[in-house]
Symmetry: C2
Subunit: 562 residues, 2 copies
């Protein structure tokens, strides 16, 4: 590992030459570290762990790594382990982008440089495929410098491949043996961390020395547990979306002419929608988990929105903002049934949205009625867009436009019945890519840097099968607690493609959790009052730049009122 | 006028209670003022003015206000005019929102409070309709306080009504006479300022004492002249859009999987697209004025984009970003012809996009071929969406999706001909409402505050028929030059609805101007290289927070290289 003062790096090199002033200014920010890294430290064990579900089955699948205790670093007098042992470490970015990934790598690198000089850090290129193909680049100070505190996963790229087959596991073994790796850190979401757990188990079983650790990444916020309070990237993405939502709210109130329906990224869970609701106070925010729990129909969702619009019309307000989670239709049981029936039909014959062909009669009555009630553009999307497996591409369905169209129709009925004394004009928005690669907020920059330090430190202790964890996050960074918890602790069995598979259970919005309960308490007021909040640009400047998310604070019981 | 220290205002009142920390922190920022306001000043005349076109006709239409010289404030020893004369002034916000409108009002108010205590400022509610209906609210320190440096036009609202008929002119006369107004300031775009000029002329003709001034507002940037270098709101909107574009660029480069087509607000002119291009360096940015000048067809526009994608594919790049002005199809002559033919057809019969009905044969061959070449969703939009006058609603046409679809088809042909060695996946975005009501940037906050001071000062001198102007904007705010120029100087005759009408000529992107020439010089490099710049949040913090736009600097010949 080349030790290099970042200041010596030629700031006129190609990459930096097209950096904006803000990008350049962020590079030289060194995030504050948890104080445990100020001196010597040792590992302290928590109680043994179990799993999120089916512990007996998970134990059988992970005999070598199941049940190990969570650990955290604690200060000690003098060196308590061979701190300076040189390590060979690999790191890989897996899955979609999330702000802060570069800082995890920077944290890993800086830890090794400071505590174990002479270590080597390999960055596998293009995601897990880089491991299987033994494609890597050595992370050097010079290579790393332009990526510090920057968004994106450009430094080594990412990918969505999985290491699944026996051949692929063998390729991974070949690579880590060839590179003589002491450790491998997988930065990814639930699936990637599941993969990390399986690699850890496999290497241990094969008596390969390489330890494998995971690191919690996803803007969706659905990879978390008691020990891993938040996934990185969520804070940044929500703050960028909230800035835009807040601007749109001021426009709505000022123009008094439009209802804005804003769809937000996050398919499996509605954490992003919930957090953005706390940041901005919309007139309505649909939480998929609630819809699912209450088994609501699309008509009922439509009516909930139409009711709010009616209430506002009665007090002379014909404008507002609704937030919609990207994955909404995955949460509505009747739509799931319709899509399943359509997938079957589409597999055997061509269907046409506009023709009233015979194929429609093959839908069961309920699905047929639902299909008929949908706007024609959505019918088109349901029929035409299929993925290579013949399935409807749910993510391509413009839910916000569907709801606008259905609400419009509903309000038109109500106008004829004289129960809606107003007008309705909808504007559709989708925020996704705008947030995945923003420069990480102060929180994400600092959190990720600490996660990187944690990962390298745990490798120094030779631990495997853990996910790096940093907790006590509502306190100052100096007080954050650093450690790791067993990946198996987050796991459960899930039936996929007819087989029970061990997976990390996605963390959904808990209807009895602090954030949702607070939301349920305040949403009726938000519906009719204009309580709109415009957070402004809050990534890393201004009075709220060091705040973290509302949902995290509410989950941790920190006193907060949205 | 109640003199009130803003600090005395109860910050816990209803409005402020839902302000974000950034909103609250912005409120107390007092923008720096041009130094001419530090002491006494007098008015200095420039040479007499003429008009942007048809000076003889404009002179006939504006006999009382035509030709008056531009003026600017110059420091003088001791009071050179009755500075402390109490004034009764009205102000109105007209047309779409633009960041900074509140600061114009704050500047007017603070000038009066400081220089002419005892003056009264009336804010007409809901735009020009408020003048006609004599609906107003007195602007007080307490009312104004929460709106300082905030986005939106909430303080008094806005509207799109025009004062046009003799009856409406009489209503305006009645109002300004009833309120005994010394002056009226119209904050608006080209049409609103045209209206201001007509009011000024009318009042002068009728020997009404009320002076009328305009103030240049529009995010589109198409209201400007030599004396009025920029309209307010443009800087903020472009910076907000650029932040999002920059994030998407990092995503594009990091994911290496998508081409993002980003449509940007701004229908009549492509200034926003050009400015955002300088801020972010996309692979392509379509400037409507160039398309129009070169009489390009939709096919040619499509091919230009496809050529860039092909070039990038040959060097292994299958991702990128294109910027598209909202008004693109207004600039393509063949589409204008098609729309005109469709409007005629739609007026007499129902047309159906999917049926190959007889109506299609009524299109002329060129229009018929063009229509047939369009994606079916765009055919639908052209046929179904009509405004109350029976016209196609061009603004609702999703140009970015149309181009994605056409580029996809073109590249598919090229793939079959073995000239496109790649893949193409498009992602569509539209940024509009996100930028119209953001909190004004440092530049817009300061510029608008100076415009407000300028407007009140000019009214103190009793001038009418001017548009407030602040120039020398590439220097520090202290050095800015404050004054006004004749509204008639910006005017020309335009044929509208079969009649010659005096209008303020929209400022288009000049193909021989500094900004476009610089763009033409660098765009080929941007097309193939990844020169992407991610500006980050640059509204009012960070090292570039006090920079103004690239296009302004290039227009003024200030040394700049994008």
């Amino acid at each position: 590992m080349t030790v290099m003062n970042p200041r010596q790096v030629d700031t006129h090199d190609k990459k930096l030459s097209v950096y904006s002033p803000v990008q350049v200014y962020r590079i030289d920010r060194t995030p504050p570290l948890p104080k445990v890294f100020n001196g010597h430290f040792r590992l302290e064990n928590g109680p043994p762990t179990t799993s999120a579900g089916h512990p007996e089955d998970i134990k059988k699948l992970f005999p070598h790594t199941f049940g190990q205790p969570s650990v955290h670093l604690a200060p000690c007098e003098g060196a308590c382990f061979d701190e300076a042992r040189k390590l060979k470490v690999g790191v890989v970015l897996s899955g979609g982008q999330a702000p802060g990934g570069h800082n995890v790598i920077a944290g890993m690198f800086d830890y090794l440089e400071k505590n174990a000089p002479g270590s080597v850090l390999f960055g596998f290129k293009g995601g897990p495929a880089g491991i299987m193909r033994n494609k890597w680049v050595e992370i050097t100070s010079r290579l790393l410098y332009p990526f510090r505190n920057q968004g994106g996963f450009d430094i080594i790229g990412s990918g969505r491949d999985k290491i699944e087959t026996p051949e692929q596991f063998q390729q991974a073994v070949d690579t880590v043996v060839a590179l003589d790796l002491d450790g491998l850190v997988v930065i990814g979401g639930d699936d990637s961390n599941t993969n990390a757990a399986m690699l850890a188990e496999h290497f241990r079983e094969k008596k390969i020395k390489t330890a494998v650790l995971g690191c919690p990444k996803t803007i969706d916020g659905d990879l978390k547990s008691k020990q891993v309070p938040i996934s990185f990237g969520f804070d940044t993405a929500c703050k960028i979306y909230s800035e835009m939502i807040g601007n749109i709210m001021v426009d709505a109130r000022s123009t008094q002419k439009y209802y804005h329906f804003i769809r937000l990224m996050g398919r499996a869970a509605s954490h992003i929608t919930l957090e953005c609701a706390f940041q901005t106070h919309p007139n309505g925010a649909i939480i998929g988990e609630e819809i699912h729990h209450q088994k609501k129909t699309l008509r009922q969702v439509t009516n909930t929105i139409a009711d709010i619009i009616c209430k506002r019309a009665h007090i002379g307000k014909h404008y507002g903002v609704f937030l919609i989670p990207e994955g909404l239709i995955d949460f509505i049981p009747e739509i799931q049934t319709l899509i399943a029936e359509l997938n079957d039909l589409l597999a055997t014959q061509a269907c046409d949205a506009d023709a009233h062909g015979a194929w429609r009669t093959k839908l069961k009555p309920q699905a047929r009625a639902l299909f008929a009630s949908l706007p024609s553009s959505i019918q088109d999307q349901l029929l035409l867009e299929r993925d290579p497996h013949g399935n409807v591409q749910v993510a391509k369905i413009e839910t916000e436009k569907m709801l606008i169209s259905m609400v419009e129709e509903e309000l038109s009925h109500r106008r004829h019945e004289d129960t809606f004394p107003g007008q309705f004009k909808g504007q559709a928005h989708f925020f996704g890519y705008e947030g995945r690669c923003g420069m990480p907020t102060n929180f994400d920059a600092t959190y990720c840097y600490a996660l990187g330090f944690a990962a390298s430190a745990l490798l120094g202790f030779g631990h495997t099968g853990l996910i790096a964890s940093v907790s006590n996050l509502t306190d100052k960074p100096a007080e954050w607690v650093v450690g790791g918890t067993a990946l198996t602790e987050l796991m459960d069995l899930e039936r996929r493609a007819g087989r029970d598979k061990p997976v990390i259970r996605k963390a959904m919005v808990e209807l009895d959790g602090g954030p949702f309960r607070e939301f349920a308490r305040v949403r009726d007021a938000w519906a009719v009052e204009d309580s709109f909040v415009s957070p402004g640009p809050i990534q890393f400047a201004g009075p709220s730049a060091d705040d973290t998310c509302f949902t995290l604070k509410l989950e941790l019981g920190a006193c907060v009122s949205a």
